[in-house]
């Protein structure tokens, strides 16, 4: 792997680790996995229109976030239930709009050199997600514990919720190149789940989640490059191994 790809992978892993901590604590784990499928119709449409699939994925994920957020505000349905519905519809539309090898690459990741534009986008997006989580961590924490306490403290809970969903969507899109959108959900969830098992405080949870995501991503990308295999499944397999190791803690 070249230095550019390594930097992007590292930034993506840090963003995934941080976003994952709040996704796991909010019990969005299954939703997180399903969420990544929302990118599918966007990728399909982008391929039909001969655009970069990343653009299509990002647009679909952002639109999906807005839709989930709007339905959540209108109803008492959980994020998980709404994501399940939106994901199923997105999968149905996506399978009608896209087929072919490029789609498989987008879903499962592909090794190879990133363009400068892709690199810049990935780095800026990853840094924006990292900055958002670190800046909003206290607001996210209080609204996680109790929405009512957050409202009484003057936190704009609805806009915070939307910002988190957007950060989540951007993180999923970030993973498209090397993990593929289908497996990116796993990189968000598994390191954070490992961290939840091992940590006793929020700072420790952040550190363990980031560390696990970095080890999985960098080691996985290296092995993928050596064996000329798709990077996504190897990265997720390493993350899964870390989870099983974390089970050794009583």
């Amino acid at each position: 792997m070249d230095a550019r790809a390594l930097t992007v992978c590292a930034a993506m892993a840090v963003a995934a680790g941080l976003v994952g901590c709040f996704a796991v604590m909010r019990r969005m784990t299954l939703a997180a996995d399903a969420y990544s499928h929302v990118a599918l119709p966007g990728i399909g449409l982008a391929l039909v229109l001969r655009l970069n699939p990343l653009i299509g994925a990002l647009v679909a994920l952002l639109a999906g976030s807005m839709l989930i957020w709007a339905i959540e505000g209108k109803t008492k349905l959980s994020t998980e239930a709404i994501t399940g519905v939106v994901f199923s519809v997105a999968l149905a539309i996506g399978s009608l709009t896209a087929t072919g090898e490029e789609l498989i690459d987008a879903l499962f990741g592909a090794p190879g050199r990133m363009t400068i534009a892709e690199t810049v986008f990935a780095l800026v997006a990853a840094l924006a997600v990292i900055a958002f989580i670190l800046k909003a961590r206290d607001r996210l924490l209080v609204s996680l514990v109790s929405t009512d306490v957050a409202i009484a403290s003057g936190i704009g809970v609805k806009s915070l919720q939307l910002s988190f969903l957007v950060a989540f969507a951007v993180t999923v899109a970030l993973g498209m190149r090397y993990l593929g959108v289908l497996l990116m959900g796993s990189l968000i969830i598994i390191p954070a789940t490992v961290a939840k098992r091992l940590a006793r405080s929020i700072d420790a949870m952040f550190a363990i989640a980031i560390g696990s995501a970095l080890v999985s991503t960098l080691l996985g990308s290296w092995i993928a490059a050596l064996t000329v295999r798709p990077s996504g499944p190897i990265i997720v397999a390493i993350a899964g191994a870390l989870f099983f190791v974390s089970l050794l803690k009583s």
């Binding site: 604590m25 909010r26 961590r137 206290d138 607001r139 924490l141 209080v142 996680l144 514990v145 109790s146 929405t147 009512d148 306490v149 409202i151 009484a152 403290s153 003057g154 936190i155 961290a195 939840k196 940590a199 006793r200 405080s201 929020i202 700072d203 420790a204 949870m205």
Partner: protein, 248 residues
């Protein structure tokens, strides 16, 4: 007799109100939970809210903090800062969150100085060991007092407590009640307390707001908490025991 007027306007016993509620109505899915409720609460008062399950006590608190839509008006005195202790958390307690994580988060949001963390713990009689302790390992009483400490950060003038002692053992309840009493009586914090423990209400509240489908009322505990009145509110004969006192 508690103050009851035809327009359902019920008034606190102090001058200088911190809260004025006029014709408050809250409905969910076409079911009216609170109907045309009007009352005022004086600064420094200790208001207990009682009523049977489903009478809208938590709904009233959520309307007061602006968490749910309502009809009518709710006017807090200008500059009022409130702290809120909810009845239920949105999470399980098995998360890697320590006492310090919670208090620090509230400090940042409230733009409060760091020394308020320890001061808030002192005010609820909690030791500094809870700062390092994950919330899942705290006893019910410790955790509830941590939530009160969290609500105290930012120096609120008003504290809304929704059944803070639910699920807490007797010594824990006693410590919590004492902490709340001190906040109200010694520091002048206006407290709103939802409680099913009528002996606590009798002992600590300066006014009692009873929510009942037919007739809501407000008055001092000695007047509202009579067997006849309680029987009317709850629809069944109710008695309660005053610790160290004769029963009612």
């Amino acid at each position: 007799m508690p103050t009851e007027v035809p327009e359902r306007r019920i008034t606190g016993q102090y001058a200088g109100s911190v809260l004025e509620v006029n014709h408050l109505t809250v409905s969910f899915d076409h079911t009216v939970i609170l109907a045309d409720l009007s009352f005022t609460v004086a600064r420094g008062a200790s208001l207990a809210v009682i009523g049977p399950n489903g009478s809208g006590k938590t709904v009233l608190f959520r309307a007061l903090i602006g968490a749910i839509p309502y009809k009518g008006t709710i006017r807090w005195a200008p500059g009022t800062k409130f702290g809120y202790v909810p009845q239920k958390l949105d999470i399980e307690r098995d998360l890697p969150i320590t006492g310090r994580d919670l208090l620090r988060a509230k400090l940042t949001i409230s733009h409060a100085p760091k020394d308020e963390e320890l001061h808030a713990l002192e005010r609820v009689d909690l030791g500094q060991e809870v700062l390092r302790q994950p919330i899942g390992t705290m006893s019910g009483g410790q955790f509830q007092r941590l939530l009160v400490a969290c609500a105290l950060i930012g120096r609120p003038d008003v504290l809304l407590l929704d059944e803070p002692a639910a699920g807490v053992d007797a010594p824990g309840q006693q410590a919590l009640s004492e902490a709340i009493r001190r906040l109200q009586q010694d520091e002048g914090v206006t407290t709103f307390l939802i409680s099913h423990d009528l002996s606590v209400v009798y002992r600590y509240a300066s006014s009692v707001l009873c929510l009942a489908r037919e007739r809501s009322c407000l008055g001092p505990p000695q007047v509202v908490l009579t067997p006849e009145r309680l029987s009317e509110i709850y629809g069944t004969p109710i008695s309660f025991h005053l610790h160290g006192d004769h029963g009612r």
